[in-house]
């Protein structure tokens, strides 16, 4: 098992490496000169040159790539073209903020998704199932900003005025110091993510419930609660973990719209800023970060798969 995990790890590192190269090349293609972009209307040739030198834009491409990659290893993400400060400093807080948002959304959506999916499968064909499948179908079909706007109108501005619609925290203070501001973005994100978990959980549970060993457990006289909790649910976890991983990875890259809408100071809005500002270093850092997040969560999901499957787990033992 350790060998298998090690191999996955190795493959992941290679993938990350390849991804970093792609990211680097892609950002090179950004039109315009980052130096020009920073200086904007005030650009004079002298200032442009100085800035280019400072950003080592005059070095050959491969050298810049190696510098960048080398920097990544020691946690040096380069300097933001827009602020002039280190990228890590600029992003540190935002990454935390995004992690908080994602964490909260996961805390809501994963248990809710699993529970609703399970009940939906257990009540197959009954009203509860229809309601749950119907809801998840509709929710999954709606683009995230629609969900967000709907929630804003419902809970913030028009119908009920309960929650603030934008996030604001004094500098130096963390976003999560104001929990009420987190409600709407979290809810939106959770609503976007949950239906997928519900659907996957329902589908796998249906399959598992139809399986021979669940029938056997019932025929053994095992109480229904144990049948579900001990025999059925664990088998649904691996595929659901995959879906959750995909959703988490999506959150890492896809919260842009939601963060943009709620003015949430996370990596999503930083990304949009960075792309429009041609803040190449920040775009690179964020892309590779999101790629890494994707790879890590998938690795974790694989791990769940390995751990819940004794066949794979005991492979080394045999």
């Amino acid at each position: 098992m350790a060998k298998m995990i090690f191999r996955r790890l190795l493959v992941s590192v290679v993938i990350l490496f390849a991804a970093s190269m792609l990211v680097f090349v892609a950002t090179l293609l950004l039109p315009g000169d980052p130096a020009q972009a920073i200086l904007g209307q005030q650009a004079t040739p002298a200032r442009l040159d100085a800035l280019r030198e400072q950003m080592s834009l005059n070095d050959p491409v491969w050298q810049r790539y190696l510098n960048w990659i080398g920097g990544l290893f020691v946690g040096d993400l380069g300097y933001s073209a827009a602020t002039g400060g280190p990228v890590s400093e600029l992003l540190g807080e935002r990454i935390q903020a995004s992690l908080v948002l994602m964490g909260l959304a996961s805390l809501v959506s994963i248990p809710v998704g699993i529970i609703v999916g399970t009940f939906s499968a257990l009540r197959r064909g009954r009203p509860l199932d229809h309601v749950a499948t119907g809801f998840s179908l509709v929710l999954a079909a709606l683009p995230e900003f629609v969900v967000g706007i709907a929630l804003i109108t419902l809970l913030s501005t028009s119908v009920l005025k309960i929650f603030p619609s934008v996030t604001m925290a004094p500098p130096g203070e963390a976003v999560w110091a104001y929990p009420i501001q987190l409600v709407l973005p979290t809810l939106t994100l959770a609503l976007v993510v949950t239906p997928y978990i519900v659907r996957m959980m329902r589908a796998t549970m249906l399959e598992v419930l139809d399986s021979g060993f669940v029938e056997m457990a019932r025929l053994k006289g095992v109480p229904e609660r144990d049948v579900i909790l001990k025999h059925a649910v664990p088998h649904a976890l691996a595929p659901v973990a995959q879906v959750i991983a995909i959703q988490l990875a999506w959150m890492a890259g896809g919260v842009v719209v939601i963060e943009f809408l709620f003015r949430y100071p996370g990596i999503g809005s930083a990304l949009v800023d960075a792309v429009t500002n041609r803040d190449v270093q920040v775009v690179q850092a964020l892309s590779i970060l999101i790629a890494a997040a994707y790879i890590v969560v998938n690795l974790l999901a694989d791990l769940v798969g390995i751990l819940t499957n004794p066949k794979l787990r005991t492979e080394a033992v045999r």
Partner: protein, 272 residues
Amino acid sequence: MMRQRQAQLGLALTVLVLAVALLGPLLLPWITGFTSTEFTGRPFKPVGMFGTDNLGRDVLSRFLDGGLRLIVYAALATLLGMAAGVAVGMTAAYSAGRLDGLIMRGNDVLLALPQLVFALLAITVLGPKGWVLVVVIGITHAPRIARVTRSATASVITEDYIRASEMYAVPKWKILVTEVLPNITGPLMVELGLRMTYSIGFVASLSFLGLGMQPPTADWGLMINENRIALVVQPWGVILPVLAIAVLTVGTNLLTDSLARASANLNAGNQP
């Protein structure tokens, strides 16, 4: 029976929206009295049936004129993604061994790249043109579809009828097209529905971020972007396109979902 109802509902919803999107432009200005770019009053005023938009144009006319491009782009992107993804996935699964590994690892690299970053970069580099949207979205779909296709193919190619074709030395591409492809339509249909939904949302999202369709095009995604600011005041400019998008995506999903299940049943009929 349930499934049939679902398929019927899905078909009805899809056809409804498609009809609006296809016929809408033809019926203007006959149906509303306005074209989609004509000014009918000040912005966000209750002039006409659904009021005016952010520039004082008739919302209903914009709505009727605005579905076609979104649907066409989303459909093209989905098809492109399907074509590329299915080809890659089937090739990988069928070639097995090292090539398979190579293709799928390459796929993983693409999967690891955040889709939106990719779209942002591509659109910034190439400009928000129609074909760019189609290609960008298609490409972001492809690795996901390839993955699904690969696992579906992998389970089909162990079937004996594939071996039988091998035995008769049927060319590999032909085996893929005639033997494998028809038998993975189930998962592919699910994927198609999912991707179509996703494409529509993606095109709309890009418009929402100001990167998709460009003014003064009448377009549902763009309408949401342009009019969402007045959601409280004059919600129709947002609600009409949102409804249409929701109905369309829900419809396609219902339809493909039931098609997929019907096809799964057809396959199940093969098992003892």
